[in-house]
Symmetry: C2
Subunit: 338 residues, 2 copies
């Protein structure tokens, strides 16, 4: 098959790779229908993580089951499936509690920017759509593999409830999906912090009532002005930097909630501020698997269209251009078609 | 009147002080029936906070209303009342959300280790008992002013629900009250981390099923052994040091909750560990006021007897000996009688 390797920062190559095979009897092999480039992929692309040897990359995928191992009970070849960026057994107490990305048997998915991918723990990891989806629905379904599930988790982890005021820090695809999630969960007012016109427009389309372009002290002041001087009931931090985390903590009302769903890079949590403001905090790699049935249902019935975050579609063999477009913020999110 | 001043670390003096008076029309003056020494008082006593001049000290109190200002509507002289260590208006949105210790109008209470004390925002701060309590009930009621309310908040902030496994880090009076609170809120199993025999006994009397004497890695392992290898659903951190916070974070199951109710001293939150374990975190100075009606009711009907944390009672003029007994861990908690 053909697939993507990252050789070094800013060195993405597409070429021949070994065909994935069933290794464990609980595996499936999926023929990728669509994959994409994630904000998380930009960390190694920009040199934030060491790359010691050429490595497969990509962790978002939808596609058709090509083959299943002998112990896979709930999937059959030909089904259209969506999986998360962590494989998980979905049978242990941690999975049952809804934290599949903390499953003791979890396995990191990678190499999804390829024509085929091996998915471990297939019964636990993959969820099939009710039927073969229309081509137009594939971008929506693809977001459920990560960004929409992560935005949803951001809202769930900050305990967004009907009537709440919600601020979203970060206008990447996850932040935009978090706006949509907060509205779907009943937020009365969603404030999107964004400086980029196309992203502001999409935030408004996804249900944001207010756009805050300021950052730092001024950004905090603007959020407070928009929330009766108190700060937002829930703040969804969708970046992962120290600056964005402090922005989030300071924008929440006393006793409010802050969620954080971007992998933390150099974040120092202000413990004294957290203590005296009674903030609730929960983060983590989103347990996307927990939300797949519900989110597939919402996409299937046309309730949400998170696929609008894709503003550039390329053939998979142009994956390197996809990374460049994301890195240079020419695209919010790039969909890749094998 | 006579009252307590802290002059310097380990220098507690009892002597003549000005009589508290009504200053604002929303004030009350309370004649103290009982007060006590708090773990928090030991921080300045041990030199952790600078003391620039002799300062009144003590923030826990029950007693009789002596006088009220012209705008106090809900209290009358002679009533037996309990207040929190923060005065709060109890009318703003933050108070209504149950975070009275983040009230924008909050005022820190101090000088309660005295014969009388001025209480600002009396209508918002003080809660009267249904009638004059028996003398035997006064220790129980006194704990509601801080330690029992703080233990209760520890359990509430960690979202303790019926059937949960709960671990409590810290065997001071707050930790012991947290054991009692977790049981009252329906925890199926409470694990108390304690090395001191009298405290272990009280923890068991308050409902702990297991005592863990180990700390560090061994303590974490013991908690996991007692919770099917997963860690506790909720961990209540009742100390405030870096060591105890890390103990708490590592003792919780993935996706569990950690509360922290001791003022943090030198705590560095492990952000990456919090992220990858999906822990929920909430702390803060306990909004004791929120719990007073419910806790007074439980004490009044004999459901709980948190006053058992007092294992030494002294006349108020021996307050300095009370501090010594607490500092040397000869007493769990010292009650002082004017």
């Amino acid at each position: 098959m053909r697939g993507t390797l990252i050789h070094a920062p800013r060195d993405i190559r597409f070429g021949d790779r070994p065909d994935p095979k069933i290794v464990e009897p609980t595996d499936a092999v999926v023929r990728i229908a669509a994959t994409c480039v994630c904000g998380t992929d930009l960390w190694p692309y920009r040199g934030a993580n060491p790359i010691t040897e050429p490595a497969p990359i990509g962790h978002e995928y939808v596609g058709h089951v090509e083959a299943v191992g002998s112990e896979v009970a709930n999937l059959r070849p030909g089904q259209f499936v969506i999986g998360s960026f962590f494989a998980s057994d979905n049978t242990c107490p941690i999975c049952h509690a809804g934290y599949q990305t903390s499953c003791p048997n979890r396995q990191v998915m990678t190499g999804c920017q390829s024509e085929y991918v091996r998915v471990p723990l297939a019964d636990g990891t993959l969820v099939a759509t009710p039927d073969e989806p229309d081509a137009a629905m594939i971008p929506d379904l693809l977001t459920l593999s990560d960004v929409m599930g992560t935005g949803w988790y951001a809202a769930v982890a900050a305990d967004v409830k009907p009537g709440m005021t919600v601020a979203v820090v970060g206008d990447g695809a996850v932040g935009l999906c978090a706006v949509l999630a907060a509205r779907e969960l009943g937020a009365a007012q969603v404030i999107a912090m964004s400086r980029h016109t196309p992203r502001q427009k999409l935030a408004i389309e996804f249900g944001a009532a207010d756009i805050v372009t300021e950052r730092g002290d001024e950004g905090v002041e603007r959020v407070k002005e928009l929330t009766d001087g108190l700060g937002a009931d829930a703040v969804l931090e969708c970046v992962g930097t120290d600056e964005s985390m402090h922005q989030a903590v300071r924008s929440a009302r006393p006793g409010g909630n802050v969620s954080f769903v971007g992998v933390p890079h150099g974040v120092n949590l202000p413990i004294t501020e957290l203590f005296y403001s009674h903030l609730g905090l929960r983060g983590g790699p989103a347990p996307v698997r927990a939300f797949l049935p519900e989110l597939i249902d919402r996409v299937w019935h046309g309730t949400i269209s998170p696929g609008k975050v894709f503003d550039l579609t390329l053939p998979l063999d142009q994956v390197a251009e996809g990374y460049r477009a994301m890195d240079e913020r020419r695209a919010i999110k790039v969909l890749l078609q094998p």
